[in-house]
């Protein structure tokens, strides 16, 4: 027996010798564990929209006694009588674990849990349990029971991102920990054991069941009577709405944090105690969320999607043209359900929304203008010797001769493909780069139809170059970063670069106004959006992506709708969702709200631009007998002619016969465009 006892002590001593180098040092004070300066993220209006690493440490006197009682009754009913180990609880746990041949029950006291939370991993291993126990014994020998309980209450995890009882009270009930009711205290006390499965935001029934268990334990520990328990269960829990669900700024915040971590490291962001002033306009962000919620619900109905099926997703980005400040960045319908940020992801094809880049390149390099006649007909283009490509228009409809402006307004694939074929994809890519597109772009003819992955953020940036008449302001999300003393660590400087001359861009801008006023984006006008605006729809093959990108004088916005799994968006009637039907309404709804009460601001017309009414089929200057007319904006040096039969101004313009093919007569440009600085 003596030998057995000695063996027991020797085993204990041996274990200590073996583990002593791995045992952590305890800090001087348990209060120290809660000292961390939070990093605050601000909106452009100066409001805090997110706090990182926030702790709300409180003293025991600032915690409802009901909560501490509930916690003790649930987690460690003999807390005040043990010295770190609860013999009865431990014996029970050991027997059960031996029976199960695995660690299925902890039998941990509050002190052991504190020890684990402060120092150890959450892995269930015997060695870790022994170390945890030894540190718990030291904690008991070093600190008072009140200090231990206070530290535990302040750092334990309650689910939904809440660490500490004060934070949990705010998250779940919107009140201070000292004001918790018995029912609320019991619910919170049940959470540390199962912060996800008993979370009232995730499963209210299970959370209430757990709460009832906690109340029962309080009764059996004589903290409350049965009557009090019944009364408590009759009261209203007063749960507040889930914070993440009601926060439409999460995608923006996530992207800000991601960028900062990449640039400066995680520690800087989470432990720097920073003030990060961002560009987000929370009012506009809310409008974007509303626009998405409203229209996506109607699309869901149209698609007839069931709950178990994949839901349609959407992304919205809006930029302030003058500065490049990202005012809205919505990466999906609901951050709490999907954290994938579609607003910055470049894995979706741009479709026809890429065509303005093709048209701009063509007008810059092929000497054509919005009044140039092009032929829209089936065509076979040679990709390489022996390999051909036959681009097709939407619905396989072809319009014959028409002017370039109308080709963009109708979003004709054949015309765009011919242009890229004449230009070479490399030239188009060069223009895209000048417009701020950074995603990899494939050097092939299908670039004409936007068969290349881009992000809504990039598209909004590129379109803002058009709205800005050629000036690229790099999109940015962070205005300024300060440390906790107010020292500026980073500040953004506006640096607009004139990438294209104003008079090169304006004809394209005017063509894109045509898209909104009378082209594939006219749904925007039908929805009552009155502000002068330009834009372009985009629908990719088999209706996998629907885009609408557009701009007003001050704001550029990009909207994408699609499935994450890249399946076709075809409704119950077999009709596909297009950029005009799926995305443009979101854009219009958002823009209407964003510009509500603001006066209509037109785009300034640069010097060297003139407006001419032309025949939309022949490109000749319109006269009384012209049936189909269209106003185009062209550079002053673009030569336009009257129809051959008209002799009233003969000799004023060159009277070359218009070439119905791609050759841009009667409109020619001999100008080499240089950046205007």
């Amino acid at each position: 027996m003596f030998t057995l006892l000695m063996a027991f002590f020797l085993l204990g001593f041996g274990l200590y010798i073996d583990l002593k180098d791995d045992l952590p040092q305890l800090p001087d004070s348990l209060e120290k564990i809660n000292l961390s300066l939070p990093t605050e993220i601000y909106s452009s209006q100066g409001n805090v929209i997110k706090v990182l690493g926030q702790r709300h440490p409180v003293t025991l006197s600032e915690i409802s006694p009901r909560f501490t009682e509930a916690m003790i009754a649930t987690e460690d009913s003999r807390f005040y009588s043990h010295s770190g180990v609860d013999h009865i609880g431990l014996t029970r746990a050991i027997l059960r674990n031996i029976r199960n041949m695995r660690i299925s029950q902890g039998g941990s006291t509050i002190t052991q849990q504190l020890s684990k939370n402060l120092f150890f991993s959450f892995e269930r291993r015997w060695v870790r349990k022994i170390k945890e126990l030894m540190v718990a014994l030291q904690i008991e020998a070093t600190f008072s029971k009140e200090e231990i309980l206070e530290a535990y209450c302040n750092q334990v995890y309650f689910g939904s991102g809440a660490y500490g009882v004060e934070d949990a009270s705010l998250v779940y009930f919107g009140k201070r920990a000292k004001d918790l009711t018995l029912l609320q205290a019991a619910m919170l006390a049940g959470l540390p054991n199962s912060p996800n499965s008993a979370n009232p935001f995730n499963n209210f029934e299970r959370a209430m069941k757990r709460t009832r268990t906690v109340l029962n334990r309080m009764v059996s520990s004589n903290f409350i009577g049965s009557l009090q328990m019944e009364e408590a269960l009759e009261t209203d829990l007063e749960l507040v709405p889930h914070r993440i669900q009601s926060n439409p700024n999460q995608y923006f915040i996530q992207h800000v944090i991601f960028n900062l971590e990449k640039e400066y490291g995680k520690e800087f962001v989470h432990f720097g105690g920073l003030k990060i002033f961002t560009t987000i306009d929370t009012s506009l962000q809310k409008f974007a969320q509303q626009a998405v919620n409203t229209h996506m619900k109607s699309l869901d109905k149209r698609m007839g999607s069931r709950e178990d099926e994949e839901t349609l997703q959407a992304a919205v980005v809006a930029l302030e043209n003058k500065t490049g400040a990202v005012r809205v960045l919505l990466g999906g319908r609901d951050y709490s359900k999907s954290q994938f940020n579609r607003a910055v992801s470049n894995n979706r094809m741009a479709g026809s929304s890429f065509k303005p880049i093709v048209y701009l390149t063509a007008m810059e390099n092929l000497g054509i203008s919005p009044a140039t006649v092009v032929k829209d007909e089936p065509v076979i283009l040679e990709i390489s010797p022996g390999e051909t490509w036959e681009p097709k228009n939407f619905n396989d409809k072809y319009f014959g001769n028409l002017i370039l402006k109308q080709a963009l307004m109708k979003s004709l694939n054949v015309v765009s493909a011919k242009l890229v074929s004449d230009l070479t994809p490399e030239r188009v890519i060069k223009t895209a780069r000048q417009m701020g597109i950074t995603s990899p772009l494939g050097e092939n003819l299908s670039l004409a139809l936007g068969a290349t992955g881009v992000s809504p953020l990039e598209m909004a940036g590129a379109y803002s170059v058009i709205a800005n008449l050629g000036i690229l302001n790099e999109p940015y999300l962070i205005d300024r970063i300060e440390d906790f003393r107010g020292n500026t660590l980073y500040e953004h400087f506006y640096f607009g670069v004139q990438r294209f001359s104003q008079k090169s861009i304006y004809p394209l801008l005017d063509m894109m106004r045509g898209v909104v006023d009378e082209g594939t984006g006219r749904v925007v006008r039908r929805m009552g959006f009155q502000h002068p605006a330009g834009g372009k729809t985009g629908t990719t093959n088999d209706y996998k992506d629907a885009w609408f990108d557009g701009f007003t004088k001050d704001l550029s916005a990009s909207v994408w709708v699609g499935y994450d799994s890249n399946i076709s968006m075809v409704d119950r009637n077999g009709r596909g969702l297009t950029g005009g039907g799926a995305s443009a309404p979101i854009w219009a709804y958002f823009m209407k709200k964003a510009l509500s009460g603001k006066s209509l601001v037109n785009f300034p017309v640069p010097e060297g631009i003139r407006f001419v009414e032309v025949d939309s089929e022949t490109g000749y200057i319109a006269n009384i007998s012209t049936e189909k007319t269209m106003e185009v904006a062209v550079k002053n040096d673009v030569v336009l002619t009257l129809p051959p039969s008209t002799d009233s101004i003969q000799g004023y313009f060159p009277s070359d016969e218009p070439d119905p093919e791609m050759t841009p007569s009667p409109n020619t440009i001999e100008e080499n465009v240089l950046p205007e600085l």
């Binding site: 027996m1 003596f2 006892l5 200590y16 002593k20 180098d21 791995d22 045992l23 952590p24 040092q25 305890l26 800090p27 564990i33 961390s36 043990h82 010295s83 770190g84 180990v85 013999h87 939370n117 402060l118 120092f119 150890f120 030894m134 540190v135 014994l137 030291q138 904690i139 008991e140 020998a141 070093t142 400066y264 490291g265 995680k266 520690e267 800087f268 989470h270 432990f271 720097g272 105690g273 500065t323 205005d479 440390d483 020292n487 500026t488 660590l489 980073y490 500040e491 953004h492 400087f493 506006y494 640096f495 607009g496 670069v497 600085l677």
Partner: protein, 302 residues
């Protein structure tokens, strides 16, 4: 045998008693836990700082170090900008990857300290008055993109109130070629034969019309304001220049209370031939007739 049996039983009893005592002490006094706890507390300081709490501490330290490093870099940049002595130095520091920022005060100091009106060719002083009129001009940001240098006058929101674009190439001809050399004209590479006393140079100046005079020679106020005493002037052509005709530089030597310096200036192309022709044949004789007042040119002295 019996004694041994009794002793054996006694040992067993003592052992059980000891065991019972230990067990009671443990049950009622938690001696083992407290003993282990206090021992661990006693040797706490010898153990390593491991675990989440200490990791968090380390992360806080890493974050603070990063902040200090950023602040230190910013301070260095600020001090470096404040120590800039001339526009030449400012523009020399400017690289496409390294924009330069100076305060409004520093910019104005450099602007008005830049001898002669050439700084006015970058931005007119009247334009500066206009920029300053709204009282929100805070700083000046200089950036270079390819051939172009942008001078942005920015407000407290870092938004440019006004932007001035300069060709980096064009700037090389004028303001950037202005320099201050510590030493004499000879040490600055001017040959003895092309150096004139200030009095002789003034005679040459008087052969120029007032516009050419102000284009050529710095505003005298600059010398007076700094208590510099101009002594001599030299002229030279830049050797090994790719340009034709080679650019001409003028050196104005002056003395302060402590040292001799030469202000080296580019000579405008349209004046250089005239100037060179007069300087190459220096006039050493004392003037025999009265010299008309400066700027009041009344005819060719030669």
């Amino acid at each position: 045998m019996k004694k041994a049996g009794i002793l054996g039983n006694l040992n067993g009893v003592v052992f059980i008693v000891v065991l019972l005592v230990i067990f009671s002490l443990e049950i009622f006094g938690k001696v083992i836990e407290q003993g282990v706890g206090h021992y661990l507390k006693w040797e706490n300081h010898t153990r390593p700082q491991l675990g989440r709490v200490w990791e968090r501490d380390r992360e806080k330290i890493v974050a603070q170090k990063k902040i200090e490093s950023i602040l230190s870099n910013l301070n260095t940049q600020e001090q470096s900008a404040e120590s800039i002595q001339s526009f030449k130095e400012l523009f020399e520091k400017l690289k496409p990857s390294d924009p330069q920022m100076v305060s409004r005060k520093k910019f104005l100091q450099l602007y008005f300290d830049f001898p002669e009106q050439l700084s006015y060719k970058m931005v007119s002083p009247y334009e500066l008055l206009e920029i300053d009129s709204n009282r929100d001009w805070q700083r000046v940001l200089l950036t270079q993109l390819g051939e172009w240098v942008t001078i942005s006058f920015i407000n407290n929101q870092n938004f440019p109130i006004r932007e001035v674009f300069l060709s980096a190439e064009g700037m090389g001809e004028n303001p950037l070629n202005r320099d201050i050399f510590k030493g004499t004209l000879e040490e600055a590479g001017f040959s003895q034969s092309s150096i004139l006393s200030i009095a002789d140079f003034m005679r040459v100046m008087k052969t120029l019309d007032p516009d050419a005079q102000s284009d050529l020679f710095p505003n005298p106020h600059w010398f007076f304001s700094k208590n510099y005493h101009v002594t001599r002037v030299g002229v030279k052509e830049i050797e090994n220049s790719d340009e034709y005709p080679p650019p001409v530089r003028m050196g104005v030597e002056y003395q302060s209370d402590f040292y001799t310096e030469v202000l080296i200036l580019p000579v405008p192309m349209d004046i250089s031939d005239n100037l060179l022709s007069q300087v190459e044949i220096p006039v050493y004789e004392e003037p025999t007739e009265g010299v008309p007042p400066f700027g009041d040119y009344q005819g060719d002295l030669n």
